[in-house]
Subunit: 325 residues, 2 copies
DNA sequence: TTAGTCCATGTTTACGTAAACATCCGTCCT
DNA sequence: AGGACGGATGTTTACGTAAACATGGACTAA
């Protein structure tokens, strides 16, 4: 910076002003400084800048793994929204949902150069870890439950599940079997609860729950059992398990949708190419990401911590995997 | 830090030594400092640390989107490897493969707090942008072609494709149709070249190429055309297109694998649940990620720029989508 | 005993920037 | 004409840390 200043014949402070787009620099001077910057290949030192300003212009995203589609798509949206606001994203993966894993991530996080944190994971693991986030950093929790400790942004799991179940009941099915996600997952829990409540309110039998781990393989395993029952309608807690379910039903000779109707959750891009194309609940991951970023930025601006939950609506995408019984 | 020093009754330099695990601090003193840190909730300021040491302990990953499975899985592996080495990952998404998009990302990158960069994108777009990376930052390019300007880590696309084609020929198919990826993609190009070469060397006809954009929907569209031909074996350039292809073949009444054999590329977790389970070329994304990280770390240590290409081997995973004609 | 060594710890300094304050000069008003 | 004002730019300083160098005391060996 001093070199640039010398070359442009100004003070380093003027260089700083140009560099940050501050007003009060006359055009001619600005041009000289910019020219000097170009000639010297000057690039501001972000460490010094951060040290001085106390801002890193970076948001940390903590997540368990990039192997679940939902997380990834939310992360994508977060990264895009953040970039639009001039913020970079630091990804902090937690290897395993163990105490050690979470501890490690948070220890690292403590030393991390981030102005805010978005948590893409189940917060009860946070509790278990008996470590809480640095209190001076804005936090938004996505796709989880944070009680009232942090603001939460989430897909409206309950409404989505209700839509799915009501769609199947509306087609004339007596009841709907649920292929649930892992019981540790709040999303899975909420989808299951809403399924149960919807059936209950409609005065239908609530059949036993089948449970998978979100993977297609687990959906296949559960599907083999379901195929042996007289179920005519299945609501799978995500599309990947629905894919495995479709395979199990096909192998068992149960036709979809003639014999069994299937509804998924997520609306993966691939779902349109399943056999048959999957009727599913569309999640607006992009909107979730946008609201997460908006949430932390608002906290940074206000220095206030808004609590409460923001729900992003879903919509049912009807394809070819559902029909009247 | 000064507060911690005062509280522990030592100098700030001793605090620094404890904080960084330097030797030459006696146990008793170390304990006192650690206790003071705990009591005061001290967390080192990474900006100051980076300013002083010149290291951010952060690696930047530039990519086009998180919507392609390969990128995401590589990113996951990179993040994990980097975390194991005490490095954080900053994701720098480039919105669109346009000149502006790339320029923007690189401008931002220039000001970014990263010690090294891993590029997860086609480098010819880099050329088009007529902007090159800051020369003082180690770079590794993955899944692309960088000529000899940067070291490259990539899946062994050619060997993988050859395995797939030879597997099909070995089953007795006269020739193999290729459902290729988009022509802008180097990966797609290399898979296509290897397919063509393998057929050629075996003295077989080289049928016209069908082309998709990696998506299941595009695979479905191409599949509808392929279903009208007398093709008995198809090598799809990725699993998602293979999924669409399977749907198109099923709808056209062509049985897989009895009438048509299909091989994919990637080995997505879901591929095991396709109808039928997909025979595919397994890519070791984790290894690609590890080698990318190892590559930039080595550059940082040596201050040398190793050129050349590192190829990660693939293996064929035989499932139920291939059979003798 | 005394000089030499080595280890634990303290002191000083610089990293590159931006905020706060200071200065200078031209303009405008009375 | 003289002073007040405001805009453009310069000067000083502090951000929190770690490297380099300094110090002091304990131990060893002759």
């Amino acid at each position: 910076m001093a070199d640039v200043a010398r070359r442009a014949g100004v003070s380093s402070q003027t260089v700083s002003r140009v560099s940050n787009g501050h007003p009060g620099v006359v055009d001619r001077t600005r041009e000289q400084v910019l020219a000097a910057m170009r000639e010297l290949g000057y690039r501001p030192n972000s460490a010094a800048r951060a040290l001085r300003s106390g801002r890193f212009r970076t948001i940390g995203v903590i997540l368990f793994s990039l192997s679940t589609t939902g997380n990834v798509r939310t992360l994508d949206a977060i990264a895009t929204s953040a970039a639009a606001e001039g913020y970079a994203i630091t990804v902090i993966p937690v290897e395993a949902p163990t105490q050690d894993g979470v501890n490690g991530a948070f220890t690292r996080m403590g030393e991390l150069a981030v102005d805010a944190v978005i948590l893409l994971m189940e917060v009860h693991l946070l509790d278990a870890a008996s470590i809480s986030l640095p209190t001076d950093v804005p936090v938004v929790v996505a796709d989880s439950d944070a009680g009232d400790r942090y603001p939460v942004v989430d897909t409206d799991q309950a409404a989505g599940s209700r839509t799915a179940v009501e769609h199947l009941l509306g087609l004339g099915h007596r009841t709907v079997v649920h292929l649930a996600g892992p019981s540790e997952s709040f999303s899975a829990q909420r989808r299951e609860d809403a399924w149960r409540r919807t059936l209950h309110e409609a005065g239908r039998d609530v059949p036993p729950v089948y449970r998978g781990d979100w993977s297609a393989a687990s959906g296949y395993a559960a599907g083999q059992e379901i195929a042996r029952t007289d179920a005519t309608a299945v609501f799978a807690a995500n599309d990947q398990m629905a894919l495995g379910l479709l395979r199990a039903l096909a192998e068992a000779g149960r036709k979809v949708p003639q014999d069994v109707s299937v509804v998924g959750f997520d609306d993966l891009p691939d779902a349109v190419a399943y056999l048959p194309p999957l009727t599913t609940v569309h999640q607006d991951f992009a909107e979730v990401g946008r609201r997460c970023v908006a949430g932390v930025l608002r906290q940074m601006a206000d220095r206030t911590i808004p609590h409460g939950r923001t729900l992003v609506p879903t919509r049912l995408v009807e394809r070819a995997s559902t029909a009247a019984p």
